[in-house]
Each structure stands twice: as C-alpha cells, then as structure tokens.
Amino acid sequence: MEAVTWLLFTIGIALILAKIGDAIIERFEFPGVLGELIMGMVLGNLVYFGLVSPHYLPIVSGQGFTTTATEISEFLAKLGIIFLLFLGALDTDIEKLKKTGLTATVSTVLGVFVPLVLGWFVLMKMGYPSREAFAGGVLLTATSIGLTVRVMMDLGVLKSEVGAASLSASVMDDFLGIALVIFAVGSGSLIELSAKIVLFFIITGVIWWYLVDYYIKFAEKLHVEKGVLGMALGMMFLFAALAEGWFAAAIEGAFMMGLVLSKLPEGKRLMDDVRAIGYGLLIPFFFVHTGAMLNLTVFKNANALVLAAVLTTIAVVGKVLGRGFGAWITAWGRGRDFLFTKENFWMSLQMGIGSIPRTEVALVDLMVAIHGGAIPPEDAPEFIAATLIFITVSVLITPPLLKWAFRREIEEARATKVARKVERIQETKEKIKELKGSQ
C-alpha cells in the first residue's frame, strides 16, 4: 500500500514540476520540453545522489533501482510516448503532405540519410556494435519543426518558399525517423522484418484506411459517454500491441492509427480529448521520466562527453549538409541555370539550418531503442546524456543561426516597410497641398 502512496506522490510531483519547468523555459522562447526534462533530471538525481530514497520517489528504473513501482512509472511514460505519437499523427494534414514538392521530398530523404549514415558509421568506428550504432544514427534523423516555425514566424519568412518547404520536409522526416527505428529494434532476419513491416502497413494503412469510416459510424451508434473516443483509443492500443509484438515498437501502431483517423472530421474532433489526456498527464510524465533517467554521475566517464560531442556535431552538420544539399541539387525547381547561383546556395542553407532542432521524436526514438534492446542497459546512461545534450545544443543554436541566414530577407522586409511609410507620408503631404490649393 505504501508503495502506491509514494507512486501517486511521485506522479503528482512530476506533473507539477513538469508544468512549472515548461512555463519557465517557454518564457525564454525555447521549447517547454527542455524545462520538463530538466525537472526530471533534478528529481532523478535526488535519487542517484542518495538524497532521497528510491522508495519515496519511484521515478528512475534500471541502474539497480527497479521495483514494481518504478516499473509502473516506466509503463506510464511508455503510454506517454504512445499518446504523443498518436496526437502528432492525428494533427497531420495528409492531403497537404501528398502535395509536397520535389525540393522538400529530396531534401527530406537526404536530410535523414546523411545524419543516419554518418552517425552509424562514426559510432561503429568508435567501437559500438552495428545495431547500436544504427540506433544512434536514427536518433539524429527527425527534426522538431516547432522551434523553426516559431522563429520563421517571428522573422516573417514562414510563408516564403523556404518556409513552406521546411514545414513539409520536417513533417516527412518525423515519419522516416519513426519508421526507421523499427530497423534498430526489430528482431529476425532482414527479409522477415521487411515482410512484417509490409504486412503491418497493409493492415493498418491500407485495409484500415477503408474500414475506419465504418468503425467510427459503429462507435457513434453505441450512444455511450465518450464512446467514439474509447473505441478509437481501443483500436489504437490494438495496433500498438501488434507493433510491439512484431517490432518491439508500439509507437508505430499508435502513429498509424492517428494518421488514418486524421482523414476523418470525427477523428480530428477527438483531438481535444486526446490532447487533454496526453498533455494533461502522460506526455509531461514521459518527459520528466526521461529527464530522470539522466544520471549526472555519467559525466565522470569521458565516454559520455565524447559521445555527446560526436552526436551533437553529426546532428548539426549532418542535417545542414543533407537537407541543404537535397534542396540545392533540385535548384528549387528553377532549372540548371539556377543551380550555381548565390540565391540557390542561400535558400538551401536556410533550409538546412531550419532542420537543426531536435526534441520530441529524438527522445521517443531513444526510449524505443533502449526499451527495445537496441541500446543495451550498460550504454543507456551515456546515450541518454548525449541525446539530451544534442537536443539542448540544437535548440539553442537554431534561432541565432536562422536569423543570420535570413538576414537579407529581414533587411528587405524592413526596407519595404520604411519605403511604404515614406510613400504614405508623401501621399498625405500631397493631399494636404491639394486641399490648400482648392481653398
């Protein structure tokens, strides 16, 4: 009984601290998730440094702290990942995605491929086994568009060609980042795994695509409180169970269910309820739990710092190079003459820099890789440390870099504003003159 009391206490403390941390960090215009991670780190290290007994704060698991209560909190965090991905997919506009242009598509593929291969290769050179190195590469693939959108909005360039392409590319590389993790955690031969993936997508993406309408209509006829929501979540968990059983990656099921449901207006109307459960309870708990997994004593070991430095460098350079080159090579659909122009270079650089930030999906991939066994428990602390560092660095450097890359557009916008002002003053003066002349 006492264990339940302290588990409930921990959930309460975790949620309160998560929201406070989120609010503080948002004041500095950084993603709130950083605040939630920091709060988790504080809580976790109270246990690691022996200041609080793990019995009273069952938020950390592994590293000799696992109890039934910590297993429950770990499961709650896993539910948080499932809801995060379900919500992310539900918010997707599939029709818009279908219209994604060549530049966004090519730059997405290269923007995922370059950091993945670079990370995989360098980690193997550092002595990590191939599967673990691949998982390390996958962590670097998905961009978090939120920060880039906010900065681009502030700069007034979101509606530009680069802004629109960046948005589409970032949604697509989330898809790839989420899909690629299957290859890191999936077991069996490559053929067996590929067959399972194909079958999974036929069931969840093709058959379900045609059946979901009837399913929701059936749910509507039940006339019970939150019947549609319950039925939708039920099916999401069934898909998650299927994905967990086949690839040790429940998120794939949640993601596919959200994606298919997003095509229906009824599905979109569920977002407020899913958001309430997700952001009210499970998702912040997941971030706090992830932060709590960072044992600061890991930095006594130089390996963690080296890994952090390597992953951060590849995360930044790999993305800018991959996505930037992908955009450059398409010449933004303006033909060969545009290829070697200064404008193509700058637009492609802007596209590359916009893809630097990483947050949620990197953390999701990290947790899936750890729980799925792609990153073994003995290496987990250094991967957690390295991931949290490259996430922090990526969100800190993106705003100033974007401002620098878009400086010409900002200047032009300012100049246009000033010119308009001068024009208006001139018009007013002329009107006054006319009025005086007529009197």
Partner: protein, 164 residues
C-alpha cells in the same frame, strides 16, 4: 402545441425541411482574405469555406472560436507535437487566406437525418453547427440557432413570423 408534442415532432423532423437555402449560407471561397471572413463573423457564428461558389465543394469551416487562434500573436503559441495545425492560424504568423485558418473536412450530416440525429452528433463532438453536403457540395447547414428557431416556431412562442 404543447411542449412534449412539439419536442416529439421537432426530434423527428428531417434536416432537409429546416435547413436554410444555400444562397443564404455564410460562405467564402478558400482564397478569400481573412479580413472578409472576420467581417462575416461579426454577425455569424461560423463561415463555410468552399473551393469556389460555382461548385460549392466544401473545403472547411471557420468557427467563431477559431478567431482566437487567428488574432493571437505567434509568441502565444506552444509549439508541441500535436498542436502545430492550430498554431499556423495566426494572422501575424503569416495566415492571409480563409484556407489558412479553416478546419478542413468539417462534420457533416445527411439531409434525410432527423433533428435528433443532428443533436446527438452535435453533443458527441461538441459542435454548434453541421454542414449538409450532397456529393461533396455544400447544400445547407444545421446550427443550434436554426434548431432553436424551429422549436420556437413549433411552439408558436417566437416573433410574429412564427404565428403565421
């Protein structure tokens, strides 16, 4: 008519018999400027967004409450996975056209559905208005205002027009 009888009749009425004519609906084309949408929303609770007025193919809906997202500055948004679509509606963030702020694929109901069906759907999804669509074309709407009007008409307790 007594309240019970009136409600019974009211619940079994077909949507087709109470929906307004399409030409009276608050409609804008998807490339209409947001300012025109706001002008309509001064007097209406929602605006339907159609591909164009000739085909009347339904694109989306802008509800009264959506105006909050339109008017807020970009800085007020929390950029989190699962909230991006809402954050793209800000005027200061770059939204300029009706299509930028409309909720695509609004909830619909068939013309042959009853008022009770409409009410159930409204409660289930917590919306005040449903589009009536035929082959993807907007042909009418059912809103709470229309439903209230209809009930009062049945009860003959409204304005002079209901007593005729």
């Amino acid at each position: 008519m007594e309240l019970e009888n009136a409600l019974e009749t009211f619940h079994s009425m077909k949507v087709r018999s109470i929906m307004p004519r399409p030409e009276t609906l608050p409609v804008v084309e998807r490339d209409a400027e947001i300012i025109n949408v706001l002008k309509l929303l001064r007097t209406r609770h929602h605006v339907w967004v159609v591909e164009n007025r000739e085909t009347m193919r339904l694109f989306g809906v802008i509800r009264y409450l959506d105006v909050i997202d339109v008017l807020l500055p970009p800085k007020s948004y929390k950029f989190k996975l699962g909230t991006t679509s809402r954050t793209m509606k800000s005027l200061l963030g770059g939204a300029t056209r009706a299509e930028d702020v409309a909720e695509k694929n609004p909830l619909t109901i068939e013309q042959d559905a009853t008022v009770l069906d409409a009410l159930m759907k409204m409660r289930k999804y917590r919306v005040q208005v449903l589009a009536v669509v035929e082959d993807g074309r907007l042909v009418g709407e059912v809103s709470l205002r229309i439903l209230i009007d209809e009930l009062l008409r049945l009860l003959r307790v409204g304005g002079a027009q209901w007593k005729q």
